[in-house]
């Protein structure tokens, strides 16, 4: 049973965002990391990039495949998690805290309301 924290919002493509923080951290869910297994490389976005909700912003790579990561909301990339460049496995071990991928300064935080809450995401991953 994978962990789905109640305080986060979720995309169908398995990104999470913490809308209570600004800038808001974004990562992939416990379910996603378990599906990917063994993340070996994170290709982060550039700080300062303007992105819109649903836009592909970076790539994470497991041994088997490269997976696109999408912006849950529109805004500016404010920070990237440097720790992942030396230790991409952090994303597997601690997906919701230490394994955040980037932080985004939302241009319209109301977009987060359109994302799934924890209950809806739990149903989504069945």
């Amino acid at each position: 049973m994978s962990n789905v924290p109640d305080n986060l919002r979720y995309r169908e493509s398995h990104e999470w965002i913490d809308p209570m923080q600004n800038p808001a951290p974004v990562g992939i869910t416990d379910h996603a990391q378990a599906e990917l297994t063994d993340v070996v490389f994170v290709d982060p976005p550039k700080v300062g990039t303007q992105v819109s909700a649903g836009q592909q912003v970076c790539v994470i790579e497991s041994v088997k495949a490269a997976s696109d990561i999408y912006a849950p909301v529109s805004g500016e990339i404010a920070e990237v998690n440097e720790a992942l460049s030396n230790d991409p496995g952090l994303l597997n071990r601690d997906p919701f805290l230490g394994g955040w991928i980037f932080k985004i300064k939302p241009s319209n935080i109301a977009e987060a309301d359109a994302l799934m809450n924890a209950d809806a995401y739990r149903k989504h991953i069945g």
């Binding site: 297994t37 063994d38 041994v63 088997k64």
Partner: protein
């Protein structure tokens, strides 16, 4: 977009699902890519032992007075050098010297041979062999692929597993040898081969007996500290050894000499299909050569079809590529112009529009640490 023909299932399919494997299409089969994780399974094989379902692979039995002469006419290695019980890696070529398949051929008796071929090439191999056969050859061929299952037990503790499952009598096949024995449930072919670079064996049996053997072997593998492994680990393990995968690194448009497999081509044994092209390549020059490369520094893993550049110009693409779990670095193979394929030469791999440096290195990528 591709043919939606249903995927084939090995006799162990339900057991894989029961064990929580992630199933993916491979060579027309629905196969386990991993059970717990590719890296964990990879390390189990390097450090203790793993078991793989290889029931998708094909088995042909070629027998008769003319079997040796026929196989020597269609395969590159010299099969006449094999004593009963011995096997060799060899290649099946088309008339242009291109690789139809790479396989292991065992001599099981003076007039009988057991061939183990790639799953993706069973039909192509069979059609080619039949097309080369004439009625004067005095050869009988049987395709046992549909009713034969296979397991590969690989790793430093493979002997321990063999002893636990078969008892302590001499049932562990030496490298490149085959033991054919009869058990309570039918014949078994024990082959001293593998695709991982570790000690181990491959074990073929009647399909309907596979599940009982698999469960018994999984238990013995776990008791020895290992685990069941999927095709994901099989691919990273073989690539660390620089072993080619047909369809990635071998094709009908390139010869074994271009693939660096000249050791398995006996040009002096007499005529065989494709020989003229190989002799010409040997005396003139190779158009290109399969080179092994290792990414320098921290980069995304190289993957098949990524462009490869030499001196700034794209000259080809990655055939096989992955992140090596043992080395913690990106590794791969690509066909390069011969002068660019020299050990130590720097090339670039293009990943999502950016170019990353890589060095041409000697195979294997991984060597067992000295004990």
């Amino acid at each position: 977009m591709s043919d939606p023909s249903p995927l084939r299932r090995t006799p162990l399919h339900a057991v894989h699902v029961e064990m929580g494997a992630r199933m993916v299409p491979f060579a027309g089969w629905d196969m386990p890519v991993q059970y717990s994780g590719i890296v964990e399974e990879h390390k189990a094989v390097r450090q203790s032992v793993g078991v793989f379902d290889i029931s998708h692979m094909g088995q042909f039995i070629v027998s008769g007075r003319g079997a040796e002469a026929f196989l020597n006419r269609v395969l590159t290695n010299n099969i006449a050098t094999l004593q009963p019980g011995q096997g060799q890696y060899t290649l099946l070529l088309n008339a242009h010297g291109g690789v139809i398949d790479d396989l292991i051929a065992y001599r099981t008796s003076e007039r009988e041979f057991f061939l183990v071929v790639n799953a993706s090439r069973i039909d192509a191999d069979w059609e080619h062999l039949e097309s080369q056969l004439t009625k004067d050859d005095d050869v009988m061929m049987a395709n046992a692929s549909d009713f034969t299952a296979g397991l590969a037990i690989q790793g430093p503790k493979a002997r321990e597993v063999a002893a636990a499952v078969f008892g302590n009598h001499d049932s562990f096949p030496a490298h490149n040898t085959i033991l054919v024995t009869m058990t309570d449930t039918g014949p078994m072919w024990l082959c001293g081969t593998g695709y991982t670079g570790e000690e181990g064996f491959e074990f073929f049996m009647p399909a309907e007996t596979a599940e009982a053997w698999f469960r018994k072997i999984v238990d013995a593998v776990k008791a020895a500290g290992g685990m069941a492994c999927g095709l994901g680990a099989r691919d990273t393990l073989r690539l660390e050894m620089g072993y080619p995968l047909n369809g990635n690194d071998l094709s009908e448009t390139r010869t074994p000499l271009q693939a660096g497999l000249g050791f398995f081509v006996a040009l002096d044994k007499g005529g065989f299909t494709g020989r003229e092209v190989l002799v010409e390549q040997k005396t003139a020059a190779l158009p290109d050569k399969l080179a092994a490369f290792r990414m320098t520094g921290t980069t995304p893993p190289p993957r098949p079809h990524y462009p490869v550049a030499v001196n700034g110009q794209v000259v080809g693409e990655v055939c096989s590529g992955t992140q090596s779990p043992s080395l913690g670095a990106g590794i791969g193979m690509a066909y390069l112009p011969v002068d660019a394929a020299k050990i130590g030469n720097m090339i670039e791999i293009e990943i999502r529009g950016r170019r990353f440096p890589a060095e041409v290195v000697k195979k294997p990528f991984y060597r067992k640490p000295a004990v």
